[in-house]
Amino acid sequence: MTTTLTKPQPQKTTPRERGHRPGATAHRRNWLGGLAGWLWLAVVVVPLYWILITSLKARSNYYASNPLAPPTDPTLDNYELVLESDFISYFWNSVVVTAGAVVPAVAVSFMAAYAIVRGWRMRFLRVVNGMFLMGLAIPLQATAIPVYLIIIKLQLYDSLLALILPSIAFAIPLSVLILANFIRDVPKELFDSMRVDGATEWGTLWRLAAPLTRPAILTVTIFNALTIWNGFLLPLILTQSPSQRTLPLALWTFQGEYGVNVPALLAAVVLTTLPLIILYAFGRRQLLSGLTAGFSR
């Protein structure tokens, strides 16, 4: 397996480029795949389109108009309504929890992945690796009740820190797996030459392994941010007051509050997703190529 995805490789031009099927020339298309592709696109796009246009409709317009027709006079009133609630404070809670969990999670996972790759001869590290792999096979949500108990015992119930700590733990198995896959691709000679130059493991970790696997670090960061930003169960069971509410939980309470004001509800859906859309716009290449290399082995 040699996926050296140290940077996204846009275009190589040999005719044997990856994915170029000898049969898939300009006039012999992959019909089956193409059909499935366009079909799925419709399945994906219609609901998204509907969410977006409905969120821009006035309430009266929503009941009166064809649901797939664009709004006759687009309005941002629904967005205003949502932003007038405590949306901003929920938003910041989500930011704090996501940043507070992702940064340490990626840092400790990277150190562990480096150790596991470089020290696979040591039994202890093989055991640790096995434990993380087992973590992948267990639906960690099943540990919700003891986590709740531990958080109460630590007197952290109803705080953002209560969400951060378990989020870090749950992110570790997958992060270590992906990062280790990338660190394995760093040519051994580079490590050896660092060693000859008298660098410590600590120095090698930050000065060689980290820069060379930057795309992987970015991938894992985005992926974990996505997971934690969208987390629902932990906020549901570990917090109770509105001041500690994160966005997904807020959406659920909006559903109760706004009831039939569908345009406002969908404006809230758009607003909670907006930061991720922006993140995705910047890191799309990175995320997609990184995930591909992380899993497709």
């Binding site: 099927r21 994906v44 639906p139 659920w252 591909t292 899993f295």
Partner: protein, 300 residues
């Protein structure tokens, strides 16, 4: 810990490598491994979630195992897992193969394909609830009789909706995994097949699919373990209803523990979930042989 510091590298000098794994290990042990052991322990107690915890032997287990709701919840959980796997896997393989091709419009497609991955399950559930509303939703608005059913009010329809929404959310992610898998298949295999006169469809079934074996194992593992944790989506979409039609185990655990304040039985349910996850993961590993790392190199 002394065992740690005593470990030496190849050069015989002390290595700090084991220490690098310790921070991650502490988090994982504290908030994943200890709770995992804890959930076993708690299933032999009685606890309302607030007061003191009383050891009560097999009471909770007896309550769970004799509850007529359990076989049903197990069945629903299994059905969601099996049906969503059966829908998502072929779709993801086809899409992944397609995305690995060289069509020029692929970049635009893939930009849109992955948007559902960005939405939280809560957001998706909220949106679909509105979309499927029999009176004001998409179907009613368009005047399509077949679309304006009481989607979430009938057991089988609600189940179908759950599977559809799950697929809508996760197919993009799995297509991505398959896309990577397809891109790693050596070209020489296809060239040889070409010389033997195999057509596209034949190539797909005799080269692409067998070569994707390990990718299928990886993706299926994630899919199946993930399906055990479909909590938020179902919680917001149907609350397990109508009746108990979509009450999967994870939801059952939440409702018993955090709503009915029966933490003992809820922990027993969680134990069942953990065992299911482990059993299925081990089974899939069996199928996949020893090590997925030595995969698609034969014939390269």
């Amino acid at each position: 810990m002394s065992a740690l510091t005593g470990s030496t590298g190849r050069e015989g000098r002390r290595s700090i490598l084991p220490w690098l794994a310790v921070p991650a290990l502490l988090f994982f042990v504290g908030f994943a491994l200890v709770p995992l052991v804890g959930v076993f322990a708690l299933s032999f107690t009685t606890w309302d979630g607030i007061g003191t915890i009383h050891p009560s032997g097999l009471t909770s287990w007896r309550a769970v195992l004799t509850n007529p709701g359990l076989p049903h919840a197990l069945w629903v959980t299994f059905l969601v897992m099996a049906v969503s796997w059966a829908v998502q896997t072929p779709a993801s393989i086809l899409l992944g193969t397609f995305l690995a091709g060289r069509q020029r419009y692929r970049a635009v497609l893939s930009l849109i394909y992955f948007v559902p991955l960005l939405l939280s399950s809560a957001a998706i559930a909220v949106a679909y609830r509105a979309l499927l509303d029999p009176n004001f939703g998409l179907g009613a608005g368009l005047g399509f009789e077949w679309l304006s059913k009481d989607w979430l009010g009938r057991p089988w329809l609600a189940f179908g909706v759950v599977v559809f929404v799950v697929s809508w959310q996760f197919v993009p992610f799995h297509s991505l995994i398959y896309q990577g898998g397809v891109q790693q298949i050596p070209q020489s295999l296809y060239e040889a097949a070409q010389l033997d006169g195999a057509g596209q469809i034949r190539q797909f079934f005799s080269i692409t699919l067998p070569q994707l074996k390990y990718t299928i194992i990886t993706s299926s593992t994630l899919m199946v373990i993930g399906s055990l944790t479909f909590f938020d989506l179902i919680f917001v979409l149907t609350e397990g209803g109508p009746g108990d039609a979509t009450r999967v185990l994870a939801l059952d655990m939440y409702k018993r523990g955090f709503q009915a304040e029966l933490m003992g039985p809820a922990s027993a349910i969680a134990v069942i979930l953990v065992l299911m996850g482990l059993a299925i993961a081990l089974l899939l590993r069996r199928l996949g042989g020893r090590d997925a790392g030595e995969s698609q190199l034969e014939g390269a």
